[in-house]
Symmetry: D2
Subunit: 214 residues, 4 copies
């Protein structure tokens, strides 16, 4: 299972969370990554934890202002980027270009989508992972693996039919070890989660809890 | 072959073109549709020609200002709508929602895309047609079927692998009968074209010319 | 007072409303305009009523797909266009360009804004009118002239300080004659309204009601 | 004069430039700030140079993914943010909200605009500075102060008429000491520049050159 912790714009201590994630990852041998705000990426990389960007913009050859480029992410040692998160939707053509740009810079990508049909669509774009997150459950505290098991199962089926080599993650409301183990049973090879760690009083405990059932 | 004439924002006489298209369509038994600006949709429908919208917005339950809804298009007798034209790109989630809304209102859809990879992606969204148009050839006068036959062939292959029931159109620079017949040989079941008819002195002649080789 | 009836995407009979507005306007000598969906603009123009677009896109020299141009609106006899409605926000640079394009085509413009500060900003762009509409009151049934008289008064003051020749309209929740007369007392030279006419069983009565107190 | 060096997405060494800017600023007693990519903000702050963001997103109460918030910028010691740069245009309503959010967090703001009319508009929004940059000159190597002195002069006049307390910067093609001194003579109280420093072999020399004539 791949555990990707998206810190969103939560007010939290990204370094504390990064260190906790890194230590649990080493201890349990589970792949755990942290996606902080862009202003914290470099210092999170320096903790040694696998670090992801929450978003990446199209660069191409064009010079721009106020955007996050694959070149910049690659230079500072980031592993990959979320793309098309439900809180940062992209044009289809942008997702395609971003995945290709990331791939040239040896960055991994997780392309998010709302439902199994969109998962089928994005699986054709050859990202490293795809992730299904029903928007109505994001931030709800209700776990997708419990509340919408069919969405996860159908997303896994959709992606497999298009390209069985691209693993499916799921997200929305994931906070317990049971949520993670259920996601695994449904065919997901990882989870996206945010508030349950970012808002936790004891981030390390909250991460250990996520892994308690697998 | 399905011939879809997109009048874009060209200054032209949409009624004259609609009548010409309707007459050539009846005479030769070829499916021809005209996509005028939204302000001309109703009068183009009234000529009897098959009429398409150039774009449709998300409606859902929400009341909005200045948008084109599936309900509105359906009420005035439009057959379908282009979506995600390279001059009007949409979010992936919007394309999905728009295709579903159109389908509920019995409207057909052509989802456009830049290249074979994006064609694979949009074919998963279950529109009536998909259309490949390399943006660099749009409005260039250089025909996609001559300049980029591999793009058309690969788009047809991509779409077939995902869903063989969804026909592929191609567009960009189509202006002669040979362009259309080459497109057909490459596996396209129709073409999108614009300037060669919209800017023609004699639209009827230009439409007949397109059909001279099939 | 200028009464601008925005039909938004409401399912209603734009022709019936246009005729009612035209007849009340003639009878009472009050300027009343109707802004239907773009697909109905031409037939609304043909009723003789003053007709406005709900939105207009940038055209410039560039050919586009699925957009509404000043050239198109001008050709079919539309008087003007709303711009930057709270349900169709625009980039600042777009508002500037659109106002200028409209002006070249002899189209009037109403630039909408959320609050008195934004009203001051848009008044510098030289549109025909500016309109203040607090987004939280739009569609609420609670009249801006009653619930937020200070917003209207401050918007009028803001605009006057920048350019006293540009009249200020107000909108959101306007449905009664008292709402309109209060708006007038607060310094507004017109009102924007939508649901109270678009959803009325008897549109003519609802329009007469609006004018009952001025 | 306020010298704001926007590093855009140029591949350059932000720390070297920050140190050079800081040293020239101290030596000559001129206010100089550096605006690196968001991923470099924190380490640029740590050099001691005045540090600006190239862009800031709306935050409000809402949690988002992949955006740059005023809270985040404030926490790491950034002084302010560019808003509405011609390579990152914003909705009018966003500029208003962003300026207000920044102000609550004690962040300064430079709101950019294309021309004197838009400068008048944005001056009403109460940012710390406004900046006029004709888009056609950005990255051109042709200085706005030489090629378009009227644009600078009219922008200064426009802003003064609205609010004489808001200083006007100018930008586009600024690279020499003469460009800066001419800008000053035209009434600008600072300059925005990018490539002449970001692409310089010797950044310190390029910054000293900018200040050689004032």
């Amino acid at each position: 299972m791949f555990i990707l912790i998206n810190l969103k714009t939560y007010v939290c201590d990204p370094i504390e969370i990064a260190k906790a994630a890194n230590s649990v990852s080493s201890e349990l041998g589970v792949r755990i990554a942290v996606a902080p705000q862009s202003i914290h990426l470099k210092e999170v990389v320096e903790t040694g934890v696998e670090t992801w960007a929450q978003h990446m913009d199209r660069g191409g050859e064009k010079i721009r202002t106020g955007t996050i480029t694959s070149t910049g992410l690659s230079e500072i040692g980031v592993t990959g980027s979320l793309l098309n998160h439900s809180e940062h939707r992209l044009l289809l053509a942008e997702i395609d270009e971003n995945v290709q740009e990331a791939s040239k810079m040896k960055l991994e990508t997780v392309v998010c989508a709302n439902n199994p049909i969109q998962i089928a669509a994005v699986t054709s774009l050859n990202s490293t992972f795809v992730a299904v997150e029903p928007p109505e459950l994001i931030g709800s505290g209700i776990s997708v693996s419990k509340a919408a098991p069919d969405v996860v199962r159908d997303a896994v089926d959709s992606a497999r039919r298009i390209n069985p080599k691209i693993p499916v993650l799921c997200g929305a409301g994931i906070s317990t070890g049971e949520d993670v183990s259920t996601a695994k049973e449904l065919g997901a090879e990882g989870v996206l989660l945010a508030s349950s760690v970012a808002k936790a009083k004891d981030p390390q405990k909250s991460i250990e809890e996520l892994l308690s059932d697998i």
